[in-house]
Symmetry: C2
Subunit: 386 residues, 2 copies
Amino acid sequence: MENFIFQNPTKLIFGKGSIAKLNAEIPENAVIMMTYGGGSIKKNGVYQQVKEALKNRSLIEFGGIEANPHYETLMQAVTTAQKAGVTYLLAVGGGSVIDGTKFISCAVHYNGKNAWEILTDPAVSKKITPVKLATVLTLPATGSEMNNGAVITRAATNEKLAFHHPLIFPQFSILDPEVCYSLPQRQIANGIADTFAHVLEQYLTYPVNALVQDRFSEGILLTLTEIGVPLLNHHENYDLMSNFMFAATMGLNGIIAMGVPQDWATHMIGHELTAMHGLDHGVTLAIVFPALMEVMRDEKHEKLLQYGERVWGINSGNPELRIDKAIEHTRSFFESLGIKTHLRDYNIGQETINTIVERFTKRCWRLGERQSVSPEKVRDILNKAL
Amino acid sequence: MENFIFQNPTKLIFGKGSIAKLNAEIPENAVIMMTYGGGSIKKNGVYQQVKEALKNRSLIEFGGIEANPHYETLMQAVTTAQKAGVTYLLAVGGGSVIDGTKFISCAVHYNGKNAWEILTDPAVSKKITPVKLATVLTLPATGSEMNNGAVITRAATNEKLAFHHPLIFPQFSILDPEVCYSLPQRQIANGIADTFAHVLEQYLTYPVNALVQDRFSEGILLTLTEIGVPLLNHHENYDLMSNFMFAATMGLNGIIAMGVPQDWATHMIGHELTAMHGLDHGVTLAIVFPALMEVMRDEKHEKLLQYGERVWGINSGNPELRIDKAIEHTRSFFESLGIKTHLRDYNIGQETINTIVERFTKRCWRLGERQSVSPEKVRDILNKAL
């Protein structure tokens, strides 16, 4: 096991009816700004529940944060928050709203000329004291409700960048599985794929004898394979939805990452596909991961065998054939969720591949748990995904 | 899954050489009291490492905290801390030292006449602001390094009581597996049994469709069955010791407890055996658990079958026979660690059983995940353990 430091102070408030607990969790004198997305929370009743819980509080609103939240939109929210003297942010939504709100929380107290540097310059980010934030999660997927990371898109330049800050863990996150019943099929499928990929990024690397962490990761993956398709057929089944919601949070809150190497090449490549073509994040991961497994099969040999055996029950035969089967199962799983896993399914071809490889070359990016995914390997992966 | 609230702010600093990071973790102006046990830390070099790391700090010491820490000893530490104006406690040791230090942290600012009521009266405990504490763990077992519970013994009355306080999570805990190399065989065996029992207490109840939590618990149990005996034969194997240390912390930090019922009857019964006969805590759990599984086999039917299948690979045959086998495997596992699992092995008989049943009757205790373990059921369990 590798040396590690772990700390995650977020308070998780999980279960039916939890939104009613909101008021008691926010400091009495807070000036609250509630952030949300395109308005689905007004249709499914979450907006009304939050307003009811906070009816006696000082509360303003900022709606309209889009999927893959835009820097340009978020800077408007920053101005609104600054004018109103906001001291507490409450993100009501999925990963995009929460990620966007994490950026807002940093930018409110940023004093420079170009807040984009919060994402690009760790020295700038380090000096900032973010506004406290909390969340009411409406879409299980990104794990952002219990971690300190965020991904922001700059529409003007088609860039999508991730950042972390030690003080943007949500103070608390309310997870009520019932609010997810009305989610569209596509968002649930993407959320399952996203969660599955998050776990693979932290698990499918090389063995470091982290026995418990491996079992935890396999436990989440197994659960997703068990509940994935049933959940798509039964959105209003509390058992299925609560397990999905819990799995998504556990998939990216640092627990399975303790003491193990991490990959994240699939995410980095996927972000480009979203930035360039607007593909859903979960979809990009389902496209890239099977192809990456294929190209990186030698470096990931041992963990691919373990994954095949423990998650898919592939425990006999020639190792290379077992790996083939594990990759096939992975692709089939994504397809069973209704997600197409080839670039051609989205009319994406060589031109995009060339652009991505150029971008990574320019940024001198070498990805993966061994930094061995060079821009040319990225080309191989995307060619496999064609 | 049941509704739950989870929060665990402890910072985990894990790995070789981590004690050197101590100084940077404790606030600069702190008046530190380092607490420890019988002096083993002076033999294995941990004491020297801690002193070296804190050589320029304001630091006093309180040694001599015994196993199953005594209220009487801890009150001496409280007086020492009060006189010196201590503002930060650093527990260097195993569960007993850490539990004892948690009590000290509460009692330093207690203003009443009888500090024992911190353990017996939640209203008293609630009003206290504990002194901040942190730990350097030297014995994996109790999980106390990453939770907010403690168990204290009153020697004068042979009582052993547990308490919790929201503010006694360690600020940080340093876990360096190398400092455990010199542990005596008996303490490692007890630690493995203790961890195994902690997980069973949170897992072996009734199903609530908490799929990920079950997999997590099974992952820890499987890991312990894999590393237990090898570790006893190879104390200085980093892979084995680091996995044990990690498993012990994960076994009782709240993660596997999210949204599931909990038992703890074995612990409550075991505490009495320790209080009356001085038996090691881990030993009491290894005695009580197989007997409790036997007596409670109907109520725990489904989870016993799942446990047998996923932890011990028992997946065919008559359900009652499968449960018999699961219980046999559990007993054999404890015995393989060198721990005898019958009361007769320790010359304990009916007299003790009568006393324990009387005590539980007097306290009106009904134990277990369904509060169905009545004092008479406790008698059945202890008779099965004879």
